[in-house]
Amino acid sequence: MKLYLAFILLLPLMGGIFNALLGRTLPRRVGEVVACGVIWSAFACAVLAFAGFNGPVRVEFGSWLAAFEFQAPIALYLDQLSLSLTLMITFVCGLIHLYSVGYMQDDPAHARYFALLNIFVFAMLVLVLAENLPLLYLGWEGVGFCSYALIGFWYTEEQNATAGRKAFITTRIGDTAFGIAIVWMYQLSGSVSITHLNTMGTLIPAAVVTTLGLLLLAGASGKSAQLPLSVWLPDAMAGPTPVSAQIHAATMVTAGVYLLARMFPLIGGSGTVRAAIALTGGITAFYAATCACCQRDLKRILAYSTISQIGYMVLGVGAGALTGAAFHLLTHAFFKALLFLGAGCAITALHHRQDIFRMGGLRAKLPAVYWPFLAGALCLAGFPLTGGFFSKDAILAGVAAQGGPLYGGLLLLGLITAFLTSFYTFRMVFVVFHGEQKNPLPPGGGGLGRGGSDNSAANILHPPPHPLPSREGEHLELPKIMTLALVPLALLGLCGGMLNLPSYLGHQGILDGFLGSIPGFGGGEKASQGGEIVLQIVAAILSLTGLGLAWFRYTGSRRAEALAREEAGLPGAGFLLNGWRLDNLYGALIINPFKYVARFFWKQGDEAGIDGALDGLARFIARLGGLPAGWCTGRVATSLFGLAGGVCVVLAYLVWVTLP
């Protein structure tokens, strides 16, 4: 097991280093083979580990941070949760790597790309497998860095680089809370081992647990793009599409969910924390779904949907439905990767155009993309019997089982969100793949529709990274590997439900059984079977309604009118398009004051204040020097006066002293 784990981690790392150091000099193919090879080998190792798995193991490789009682060795912890995530990560990422070979075939910077992608996988795996929090933090920050570098991959565009920076900084704000939580836990228990900490729940005062939980929630919000730190994710779509798939759908954003689930035995003891988690998740899910309804950039729709779906998972964690959350995490990884990759195919085919209003009718032109994409969309929309349906339902059932006004409200919110999800998903599907493509492009090219986009979000609809020769009307030939990679994901997405069928279908779900033994996962009230069935029926109806509404609006004769009206801008659409204008809010509240204060401190604090005071002091002293120097007039009489004055003063002093 130690060997497997070592390989799982080392292979991607080595691949990354190999590509970073040598990738530029070696033939392209070598780099690609190495990059994909290491991930698949890691997957193989994961499978082997799965096969040999018989209970949680802790493996220590060496010391890392070791100072007195602070011990954070390089130690891994393989249990059911980390194992299943490892499997998922290596598998999905493997597919994404393969896909990338096709997607990036024209990009000269492939070495950097694959190096980062590999290191990203490594970091994610460290995050998942870490036994102690500092190591987890290493992975945590590692994915942050890789996402930064990958989002800004096409760095020549300022927006891309800025988006990367935004992602890095925003997630780091959350990380800070996480970091504080780590050192706090160390202070409380003298240890940073996750397994040890999870046994401490009862020994720590409730108020402290609550604070810790909130700190962890803040950390998770950063990585998982939950409110209020969700703003980075939509912008992060600036990166290459496989990157979006890998980072912002399948792996990195789930880190927060993973963290909360991992630490649930510690923090779940506090009702406040649970409620806060659930509330964050629920509101985020709703928030992102509303935003997704109005987006016109294909990838941004998916981005908001990701936020929304992660919101579900967080909601699930908050409701104690950890298994449900994990279940949704897995299925979401499959179908969201699928959707991104499919979207990538479409975008590639359209010369890196992402505005859905400029698309249409792709069903005929790209059938190999359409059908897997549709499968993904069905999952996302929670179409009955797909994987997404079951997993989302598991969460909602968990919420329902909690009862009470708060969770009741959240359930309602979740259901509305489900409806919205279905609507925007199929809006996307129908607009992109059905109907006719809407040409011509506005003059000047660039592939951007500027109509009605008086908002900053339109800036994110970036032009192609590498200006391609204008071959309008033509579609690029997609490399086969790109479309092939969609197939397994589509199958997994559709059949993902098999992983954990609801118990009313006869027996305990696979995941329920598998994960149940992990501390915390067994908990959470189970909904009654009847209630669960009712809930599923409601959800199915909502999903279908959403689908129907989208069908009604975006196909056939109404399509043109709807699109025209949306392009002109619906009332309130700008608000939703810009994600409730959170960016503007933060800009006004934080960023601009920050810049102002920075400059103020520099100019007024350092230069005018401290330096000015010191220079002034120096000048003052120099002026003071003029006094004794000015006394020296050069006339003899002055110096004689000095001497005589000395005599006078001394004698006067003597008189003063000796004669009382």
């Binding site: 120097a629 000015g630 020296c632 007039t633 050069g634 006339r635 003899v636 009489a637 004689l640 006066f641 005589a644 005599v647």
Partner: protein, 102 residues
């Protein structure tokens, strides 16, 4: 001792400070400044002679004689310098010799 030492000292203090006052005031004429210095040194001699008389020791008188010798040496050099400077600047006003200052 014909008079108390204090009286001699008072006289000599008076002369000494008269000389000093003159020295300070007569900045316009170098010769007069030297004259004033003579007055001062003379007063010092008076003090020594008074002290000698008070204590009955020869040291005071000898000191006075030495001062006299010293004075003549200094005056001769000083007057040479007056001549030297007067030759260059045609003045004995010491305020004129203030090229260096600050």
């Amino acid at each position: 001792m014909i008079v108390p030492l204090e009286h001699i000292l008072l006289l000599d203090g008076l002369l000494f400070f008269l000389g000093m006052g003159g020295l300070l005031a007569w900045r316009a004429n170098l010769i007069m400044m030297l004259v004033c210095i003579e007055v001062m040194l003379n007063a010092v001699m008076l003090a020594f002679v008074g002290g000698s008389a008070r204590w009955g020791s020869a040291d005071g008188q000898l000191f006075a004689i030495f001062i006299m010798a010293l004075t003549s040496a200094e005056v001769s050099l000083a007057l040479a310098m007056v001549v030297y400077l007067h030759r260059r600047r045609k003045t004995v006003d010491t305020d004129q010799f203030s090229e260096m200052k600050g």
